[in-house]
Amino acid sequence: MKRTFRTATVTFCLIFPVLAAAAAPARGQTSHGKITVEYGSSAAFAQIAADLKERKVSEELQQFLAPLQLPKDLKITARDCGAQTVPYTPGGPVTICYDSIAQIVEEAKKIYPQDAFSKNLVITGATIEVVLHETAHAIFDILQVPIWGREDDAADRLAALLMMQFGEDMEKVTIYGTTTYFKALADSEKAWSGSDYANRAAPDAQRYFNYLCIAAAADPSIFGGALRTGTIPQFRAADCSHEYQQIVTAFYLRIMPYVDPDAMVKVRATQWLNWSPGNAASAGTQQNPNLGNAPTPAKR
């Protein structure tokens, strides 16, 4: 049965599965900032803009972000940028560039020219990554989150944490889509040298390992293969658990206080994907070393 899927579901639902106890309610605020999502028209990427509108991505995004009780408005705008990204500036808005989604689509076609399912899986996962990453910058700004380390890496780590909070289907789509995309970019782009390294964004290869390391620590049953097969080398693998715990702790301290726990449960109970990557024999996902193999249940 052909399955349909939703693209670009932006999720900033602040799930924290470790804590069974109710999180503290949002700090004493009687009113919260509004979260709005707008689509700009597009001359160059009209089909992408149309797809996002048709799939009601903005409505889903607002539902998804609903638990977040921000003290200021958060505006997310999708538009033509003339570049892959538009750096976030304090006060916003968050800008999602149609250009970056278009690049994801093009790259996914190259990776999977014949396999439509896997191609769409990469598009979905990598697009979610873009939206989570860019929204993370806004969250850091609005909540005045203290950031140690490079901010772009911080946005990646927060995005990776969130990807791991919605169950294994969402994990597979987002992590596989993201890492596959970054690997493809790294393999095809000119090698970095000299002043390339002055870029405040990390090289795609570095981002690949950052996401995979957190995923492997957060859910070894799905992504542990990356550690076992040496996809993540031992000297890094030994630190993945610490990296994951670190971002969990940081999130808990600085962002969780702004989450409405009741709204969070509702978002978590929502089925955001109406398809499962784990059921697709043709996806190639079962052979992806990043996803690893689930341990064989012990025989009783």
């Binding site: 750096p87 950031i147 380390g149 090698a191 870029n199 290869a205 940081a250």
Partner: protein, 346 residues
């Protein structure tokens, strides 16, 4: 040759971290003592300057499981560090920090390797300053000082300034790790970058001369690694590895692969250099305008340096500042932590 190296090390270390008239005995003056920051002695009376390696009971090499005597080539380094009261001054420098847990500090021959560098151990909450680092720093300083023109350094540097700055920067980087751990600081970015930021940020709080010494030490070291050791991914030289590492070792193979090398939790050498320079300029335009004029930072990155410094300032203010005793901090800031020749631009 060995005597020359030892003399060099003695001279270099003897010139490092000056200023305070230290008491004859290896003790921290009462006005700078902090009960939560202690010198960790291996033997009673060694003042934290161990005469051995650090035993590693889990090491696959049985010879490393027990402590080994300090390498003869590093005995002089130990003595020089003791004469300069390196550990004591470090403890004094940190005295304003109100820690909830004890932080132990010592120096040793670490794993007995010539390339060991200072590190923080979160399991034991200690900082181990490896004697061999001074030798490594001295060798790089020699090269840079002699090849300044060829390497187009943005500003001249002397061996003394380079070694002093690099050692201070490295210790401050490890101090960053210690602080993140001891104070349970939330770290959203990569911790190694965060520790670099901590080092640069602290350096920028002690005036132009101190800032330039530490920033230059750090930045030039990473520049050396990138250009001379070709440490950036895709251009890896064997010189950065143990000479005994078999090429079959998977971690070694990884670091020689242009893609896998990016798996390191540290930024690349060049990234670390640019990060440090950007933070420095963002923190003090006047003090570091010359690096901009020499085009050591691309314009696109320069645009964001003020923001990067503001971000580090905000992070420090929110997560570290509340733990600092301001009265004690004023005493520390009033001290001169480097000798004049180490602050002097060549």
């Amino acid at each position: 040759m060995k005597a020359i190296v030892q003399a060099l090390m003695l001279t270099i270390v003897a010139c490092w971290l000056p200023g305070l008239t230290a008491p004859a005995a290896a003790q921290v003056p009462p006005e700078f003592s902090n009960p939560k920051i202690v010198l960790f002695e291996e033997q009673k009376g060694d003042g934290g300057y161990w005469t051995t390696t650090l035993p590693d009971p889990q090491n696959s090499d049985s010879s490393r499981r027990l402590a080994q005597p300090i390498s003869p080539g590093r005995v002089a380094v130990r003595q020089a560090m003791m004469q300069r009261h390196v550990l004591e001054e470090y403890v004094e420098f940190l005295s304003p920090l109100r820690l909830p847990r004890t932080y132990r500090v010592f120096a040793s021959d670490c794993s007995g390797n010539a390339w060991d560098s200072p590190y923080y151990d979160s399991a034991n909450r200690w900082m181990n300053m490896c004697y061999s680092f001074i030798g490594d720093a001295a060798a790089k300083a020699d090269y840079l000082a002699e090849n300044q023109a060829k390497m187009k350094l943005w500003t001249p540097v002397s061996k003394e300034q380079l070694i002093a700055g690099l050692f201070a920067a490295t210790v401050l980087h490890e101090t960053g790790h210690a602080i993140f751990d001891l104070l349970s600081v939330p770290v959203f970015g990569r911790e190694e970058d965060a520790a670099d930021q901590m080092a640069a940020f602290i350096a920028l709080q002690f005036g132009t001369e101190t800032a330039r010494t530490i920033i230059k030490g750090f930045a030039y070291y990473w520049g050396y690694e990138a250009v001379v050791d070709k440490a950036d991914p895709g251009a890896v030289a064997m010189s950065i590895f143990s000479p005994n590492a078999a090429t079959e070792d998977s971690d070694t193979r990884c670091l020689q692969d242009a893609f896998c090398a990016f798996s390191d939790m540290h930024g690349t050498a060049s990234q670390r250099m640019y990060n440090t320079l950007c933070l420095a300029y963002g923190g003090d335009h006047a003090a570091f305008q010359d690096l901009i004029d020499a085009h050591w930072l691309p314009p696109d990155r320069v645009k964001n340096c003020d923001n990067e410094y503001r971000q580090a300032y905000l992070a420090f203010s929110k997560t570290i500042y509340p733990f600092i005793d301001q009265a004690q901090m004023a005493k520390v800031k009033a001290q001169q932590w480097f000798q004049p020749e180490e602050l002097k631009e060549k």
